[in-house]
Amino acid sequence: MPTLAFPSEALTRTGSLNVGSVPPLADADRKPLMKKDVAADHPTWCPGCGDFSVLALYFKLIEKRKMHHEKITTVAGIGCSSRFPYFVQAHGAHFIHGRALPFASGVSLSRPDLHVFVFGGDGDAFSIGGNHFTHTARKNVKMTYCVMDNNVYGLTKNQTSPTSPIGYKSKTDVWGSGDRPINPMKQAIAAGATFVARTTHTNPNHVLQIMEAAMDHDGFSFIECLSECVEFYPGAFDGANPRKGGQFPLVPENHDVTDEYAAYQLSEDLMPGKFGIFYKVSRPTKNANEAKIISTNREKFAALPDWQILQKNFDRMK
């Protein structure tokens, strides 16, 4: 057998890792997390940015649901909103623009013990990341995806976003945008998302309620949360803010959340639109499908160490 220049090594987790001094701690002994325990860097958002509310409500969710630090996994792409993970004191990843969903899928599918939260902007989600949105939805990978939709590109300073309404004047559409915007609800429903909801940063109770429902959903749960960019698109969502003379129409009580066609019809284009859960059905997750394939495959091998499973294959190749 050739000798390996790099044989298997039990890697010691060195670096500044200080393993020895950690006291054993039973779950029951752990103090519930408070906001101050979960808040990390001070957000670099502009004062008044809608994203602050979403962050505050994520903290609330963690507090309310008594989550432990290490079980919180926050993933994002690139954008103002996508800076989210830096502000949360928990394991997090700030990935590349538009690819947060496949990254999060890798986490979710390989680590079924974690609940993965993904935060991002409308550009990240529906422009460069649009296809991943469709495919993560149809595969129903378990995670919660909250798109902080401000109808504009914030971080790159005011270009038209895929959700900017027709007529919106940006640096790339000085005469007003002419492209039909993406309707996130329709997109999600058509792609096969199993949980589709809409909320707005100005209604904290509603945001929290939707976040909880999303977190409890076994599958891909998608939230469009309107979140105002006060710097470039102030007033975008006044129409959905009763305090600014707008309206906050809830999804009708009698709406059947398992009726795809009804949900699609609720997704009309107009501001303010409806708020609440549009669609929610139960379909096997990709995670469950893979788990089933694994368990079927392992039945024959369950008792064997890995090398013997491989040996069986190799013996057949002699």
């Binding site: 057998m1 050739p2 390996l4 790099f6 044989p7 298997s8 090594e9 890697l11 987790r13 060195t14 670096g15 500044s16 890792l17 200080n18 393993v19 001094s21 950690v22 701690l25 860097d41 630090h69 290490e70 690139i78 993970p85 830096y86 004191q89 928990a90 394991h91 997090g92 700030h94 990935f95 590349i96 690819r99 969903l101 496949p102 990254f103 999060a104 899928s105 890798g106 986490v107 599918l109 390989s110 680590r111 974690l114 296809n131 991943h132 893979e290 694994i294 495959n297 392992r298 024959k300 890995d306 090398w307 013997q308 499973i309 491989l310 294959n313 190799f314 057949r316 190749m317 002699k318």
Partner: protein
């Protein structure tokens, strides 16, 4: 068929049997004829017979098929390449005959289907030994009309078994294994077709052959292709998650992993595209256990942005690039080694990563394991750059000691007091990530990020940190470079010419060395497996030679040398390092290398 013991055939009697130590057999037909299957049986048989074997094939890139060949070289000694010239050519059609007669050794045997090959030029008859048999009709005779198309390959296998006195019981067993699970009729028919071929007297042949006992006797051999070996190597290394998108010739690897990983509790996900797949693999790697993604040319180009993130965030990852002819869609089913540049330099910014290339099917297996270990040890993406020349080639090699080599790389979730992944003072200079789910008692959690960052992964605009972190990412690979084994010279350490090979060209280059030395020329060779970083100390080896020629399957470029040559020239500024390159989509023939050496040393 070196050192053939020739003996005159007895007039009228069965052909004389000569002992040979190796033979190159080329089978030419259309891809639909199942000629890959004949080659596969021969290769597997050789493996089970303690013979060395190496194969080579071409596949048409259009789906509806077309001309295709399979060449197999079987030897009792070490087999380094699939052979420049064939000893025996088996051809099914006039186009196969005409297209491949040139690859036959002078005096070689051409066995052809006289139902299809009708025109034989008289001058050919004097150059080669022709044996025409109405194979198509004989198959019908052996197994009935419906089998005509399907059984031809197995019938031909029977003929070859006869010609080379191959072990019939082993071949029967191989056929049975191959067709097991299907309707038992299928296996029966196959064996009938085989026996039909084998029972042919081959009276027209002047002689028949028998391999000398192999040198490998006692070794426990295994036979597979390079893509298979690589995929199994990843499994042995402990990889349990992968993600990919189909593309030729990478697809084999993903298909195998998709099927096998669940047995080990793992998964392989087919994604919507290459960007999703590299992103998913990175996500899973961060999840705690090195994951794999891969592709060929165009798909690798799509992955470069995300690989750059893994470089910056220092997340371990294995990326497989099964090279094919480029640029763009290029020549999808041909061999080329022209992705070295993109593998080393495909990222924007200063984006150092590890690139290693396996040189044989066996090496694919072990390289996969090393790649995983390097990725973990240095917390870095590692690109395994293999090529079509080994990806689809079948070889026999020694059964690995799986109980020793299989690794457990399950992540460690033990809580820690505190942790800075990007610790600038880390004693080994290497970043270590905590798998999410690990408790940090201090309550200060790290972030992984593609922005320049501080030691906890939080973004920074500090010039000093950018300098320090850039140095950190570079220096850990310098450290790896210093740890890399310096490759051994094949042949004497001094002489006139040093040939440098990488990837699948190792075999032909070493065979070229043997032939050159046999002819009295002071030629040696050096195989470079670790391409980025390269091991230190190569300049000392170069000192022993007047010429250093880098033999690679890519273009001579704007300034007259290939891609590895450019790396070596830049590093060593030694103008005796020159390039021997070609891009005809075919593996190196030993003669081509030697001819170029001759010209360049004149």
């Amino acid at each position: 068929m070196s050192d053939t013991t020739t003996a005159a055939a007895q007039a009228g009697g069965p052909p004389q049997i000569s002992q040979i130590s190796e033979a190159v057999i080329r089978i030419a037909g259309n891809s639909q004829d199942g000629i890959q299957a004949i080659g596969g049986f021969l290769a597997r048989l050789a493996g089970r017979s303690e013979q060395e074997v190496m194969t080579f094939m071409t596949i048409p890139s259009t789906i509806s098929g077309g001309p295709s060949i399979f060449q197999v070289r079987i030897g009792s000694g070490e087999v380094l390449s699939a052979g420049d010239e064939a000893d025996v050519l088996l051809c099914f059609y006039q186009h196969s005959y005409e297209g491949h007669l040139g690859s036959l050794k002078k005096g070689g045997i051409v066995l052809y289907d006289s139902d299809h090959v009708k025109e034989i030029k008289p001058e050919n008859e004097t150059k080669y030994r022709h044996i025409g048999l109405p194979i198509s009709s004989l198959v019908v005779e052996a197994i009935g009309g419906t089998g005509r198309d399907k059984g031809k390959n197995v019938y031909a296998l029977g003929l070859i078994a006869k010609m080379f006195n191959l072990e019939v019981p082993k071949l029967h067993r191989l056929l049975q294994e191959r067709f097991a699970g299907k309707d038992p009729k299928v296996a029966e028919t196959a064996i009938a077709a085989f026996n039909g071929g084998y029972s042919h007297t081959l009276a027209a042949a002047a002689e028949l052959f028998k391999f000398k006992p192999g040198e490998n006797i006692g070794q426990n051999q295994i036979v597979m292709g390079g893509n298979e070996a690589l995929a199994y190597g990843l499994i042995a290394a402990g990889v349990r998650f992968g993600a990919g998108y189909p593309i030729t010739p990478w697809s084999d690897i993903m298909e195998l992993l998709r099927k096998e990983l669940p047995k080990y509790g793992g998964s392989f996900i087919q994604c919507e595209d290459e960007i999703a797949s590299v992103s998913m693999a990175i996500g899973a790697s961060w999840g705690g256990r090195v994951a794999v993604t891969g592709s060929s040319g165009p798909g690798i180009a799509l992955k470069t942005e995300a690989i750059g993130w893994a470089v910056m965030a220092e997340v371990p990852l294995v990326v497989v690039d099964v090279q094919r002819g480029g640029p763009s869609t290029g020549m999808p089913t041909n061999v080329e080694q022209s992705d070295l540049n993109i593998a080393c330099f495909g990222g924007h910014g200063d984006s150092p990563r590890v690139v290693i290339a396996p040189s044989s099917v066996e090496d694919c297996f072990y390289t996969a394991i090393e790649a995983v270990n390097i990725a973990r040890k240095y917390s870095t993406p590692v690109i395994i750059i293999t090529d079509q020349g080994i990806a689809t080639r079948i070889e026999a090699f020694k059964m690995p000691e799986l109980n020793k080599i299989c690794q457990d790389i399950t992540p460690d979730f033990t809580p820690v007091a505190d942790h800075k992944p990007y610790d600038l003072a880390a004693p080994d200079g290497v970043t270590r990530h905590l798998a999410p789910g690990t408790r940090v008692a201090s309550g200060k959690y790290p972030i992984v990020t593609g922005l320049e960052h501080d030691e906890l992964g939080h973004p920074t605009g500090s010039p000093k940190l950018h300098l320090q972190m850039t140095a950190k990412r570079r220096n850990k690979l310098r450290k790896l470079g210093a740890e890399l084994p310096v490759p051994a010279v094949f042949g004497p350490p001094e002489g006139q010419v040093l040939l440098i090979s990488w990837g699948s060209s190792k075999g032909p280059v070493e065979e070229a060395v043997k032939q050159a030395r046999a002819a009295g020329n002071a030629v040696s060779s050096l195989h470079i497996k670790y391409l980025n970083p390269m091991p230190n100390g190569l300049e000392k080896i170069f000192e022993g030679f007047s010429h250093v020629f880098v033999v690679e399957l890519n273009d001579e470029g704007l300034y007259g040398y290939g891609q590895l040559a450019a790396l070596l020239r830049a590093r060593y500024c030694d103008s005796k390092i020159r390039g021997i390159t070609k891009v005809d989509g075919l593996t190196w023939k030993v003669r081509e290398i030697l001819d170029r050496v001759n010209v360049m040393t004149k």
